[in-house]
């Protein structure tokens, strides 16, 4: 049973994330103040929020190009993210990274990479270091469904299982790699079932049900903490907006608006919000909009890196 307080935490986490992403999409090209390819997380909030709720601050995540959700859900600093998106010196990566390369070491957000599955071994390596140093920490490796097709993903599962490392592989299966559907890329073997070949548990969750994600993530995290080794979690989810950029892309021809509407109908935030008084939800909304206003104001005011900062 998930307590009301925990549900409230989920709701707040997802709503905040949604409002951040939706605000970014609304301002993205307006004044052209954000000059970085942005892969928005709208629709997938339950994944990062559900998984991160099962983690401690000292645990780590190693995100990939669709990085905002993991950064924010793990506790990354919002001002520093907004400043990074605007290429400012106060950005979490000093203006050197942009949307695809976010970092907040204090919150356990290890650097994210744009190369598919490339940070998956980094999480395995973090887990190796935890094990070597005898630290009670776990590492999470998020990856999209196309990352599963990369060799290094399988190398990482093999490594982690061999050494019984405290790492959790989270596949966010949003059904498309840019515009190429899963069916054009993989045989029809469920992703979570690949875990069996590496001698670790694999489970699937409903990415529109944050409680389901949290419960299964917690089980994997507990296993890892008990030194029982890694797990693979596949979360069925859906990216509402285009692969990269602020728009809907129903006219692009690779998916139908009807399919999108079906997923939106089961929006994880609306579903959970229905369990709370509308007034309460509205108060969270107001709170987050204000926070976003402030973070954008911070980022706009922040200085650009000086050209002299470029040195070999």
């Amino acid at each position: 049973m998930i307590s009301k307080d925990l549900k409230r935490k989920f709701l707040r986490g997802m709503l905040r994330l949604r409002l951040i992403e939706e605000r970014l999409s609304s301002i993205y090209h307006q004044a052209d103040e954000i000059k970085t390819p942005m892969h928005l997380y709208t629709g997938q909030e339950a994944v990062a929020v559900g998984v991160c709720a099962a983690l401690r601050p000292s645990d780590t995540v190693s995100p990939y190009h669709r990085s905002h959700g993991w950064y924010i859900a793990k506790g990354g600093d919002l001002n520093a993210m907004m400043a990074e998106l605007m290429g400012k010196e106060a950005g979490c990566s000093g203006g050197w990274g942009g949307s695809m390369h976010l970092l907040d070491v204090a919150s356990g957000v290890m650097g994210s990479s744009s190369i598919l599955a490339a940070t998956v071994p980094h999480a395995v390596g973090a887990a190796l270091a935890f094990q070597m140093k005898g630290e009670d920490r776990v590492a999470v490796a998020p990856a999209g469904d196309a990352a599963i097709e990369e060799g290094v993903f399988h190398e990482s599962l093999n490594w982690a299982s061999l050494k019984k490392l405290p790492v959790i592989f989270v596949c966010e299966n949003n059904l498309y790699s840019t515009t190429t559907p899963l069916s054009a890329r993989q045989p029809s073997v469920d992703i979570y079932k690949r875990a069996e070949g590496y001698g670790m548990p694999g489970v699937r969750c409903n990415g529109n049900d944050v409680g389901d994600v949290y419960t299964k993530a917690l089980e994997a995290v507990n296993r890892a903490r008990r030194a029982q080794g890694p797990s693979l979690i596949e979360v069925m989810t859906y990216r509402w907006r285009e692969h990269v950029g602020p728009n809907y892309d129903w006219d692009a021809g690779y998916r139908t608006e009807q399919e999108g509407q079906e997923w939106m109908k089961h929006c994880p935030i609306n579903t959970l919000a229905a369990e709370f008084p509308a007034q309460e939800v509205q108060s969270y909304r107001d709170e987050f909009e204000k926070e976003i206003d402030e973070s954008l104001a911070f980022a706009r005011k922040a200085a650009f890196p000086r050209k002299e900062a470029i040195r070999v």
């Binding site: 000093g94 990274g97 970092l103 190369i115 390596g125 060799g151 290094v152 490594w159």
Partner: protein, 341 residues
Amino acid sequence: MKYSESIRDAQAVMMRQDKRVFVCGLGVPAPGEVFGSTRGLKEEFGDKRVFDTPASENGTLGVLLGASLQGMRPIMVNQRVDFFLLALDQLINHASKWKYMFGGRQEMSVLVRLIVGRGWGQGPQHSQSMHALFAHIPGLKVAAPVTPYDAKGMIISALQEGGPVVMIEHRRLYDENQDVPEGVYRVAFGQAHVAVEGKDVTLVASSHMVSEAKKAVRLLMAQGISAELIDLRSLRPLDVQTVYSSVKKTGHLVLVEGDWKPCSVSGEIIASLAEKDPKIFKSAPIRVMWLDMPAPTSAPLEEAFYPSVKDIGDACLKALGISVSMVEESPQEKVKFNGPF
């Protein structure tokens, strides 16, 4: 101490004083112990710090980089450079860029030890050196130590300074002998070493070709020609200044490198000197390098593929405007090498 022993010693002294350091790779604790270069490490430091890995080069490097972000100082060993090419995504897209991509807030550290093979029919996929490929990438340090002293000192520098370091170790150097100090000392990256002082012609060499060039220097000496031999030691950063000072003196430049000519480190040196001072050359620089093709396997073809000591000597004579083929390589100068490694 042999080159292989100095590498072993460098890893051991660092592991004794720095708990962050560990060493792994396929065959590291196995019989043979990477040609002796990891001998006894498992016995001294245990299998948590000295261990075999899956054959996954890219995955393994990624794992080690991830561990380095948690404060570890890993050493990854590959018995041939060629296999490590599978790890270029982690090396080039990640290790080299991390510090830059995150505005200096975090840096990945790893010492990648790569061994180059040559001869005894090792063929095109067991004998590449890939100097130019690694040296091309900003954010990497690339070492190619030739002496046991430098091998130990550069490993210690790599582990103390941190950051991603690629160390190219030529298998033919593994039995070179030299007195090596005990304990910790450093040899800096980016500093070439004048191995032999001379005044008539500058010979710039790297890795195994330094020992071949040394033989050529002796043969030239017998002809009354004084060649200055520079051992680059570090391919990135590249010490152009030391080469410049030498060529300023001699006016003649011959470069000897175990790699292909196009886009090579040797080509980079010529270009850097030409940019700096186009009048420095009294004769056109000459590169003595591999034929522009993958290495062959059969012995006579190998002999045709790899430049000989005579080729190096002749290139120096040519640079000096002396008619060629005065240098003869004595049979005892020829390398004896029994395979399979």
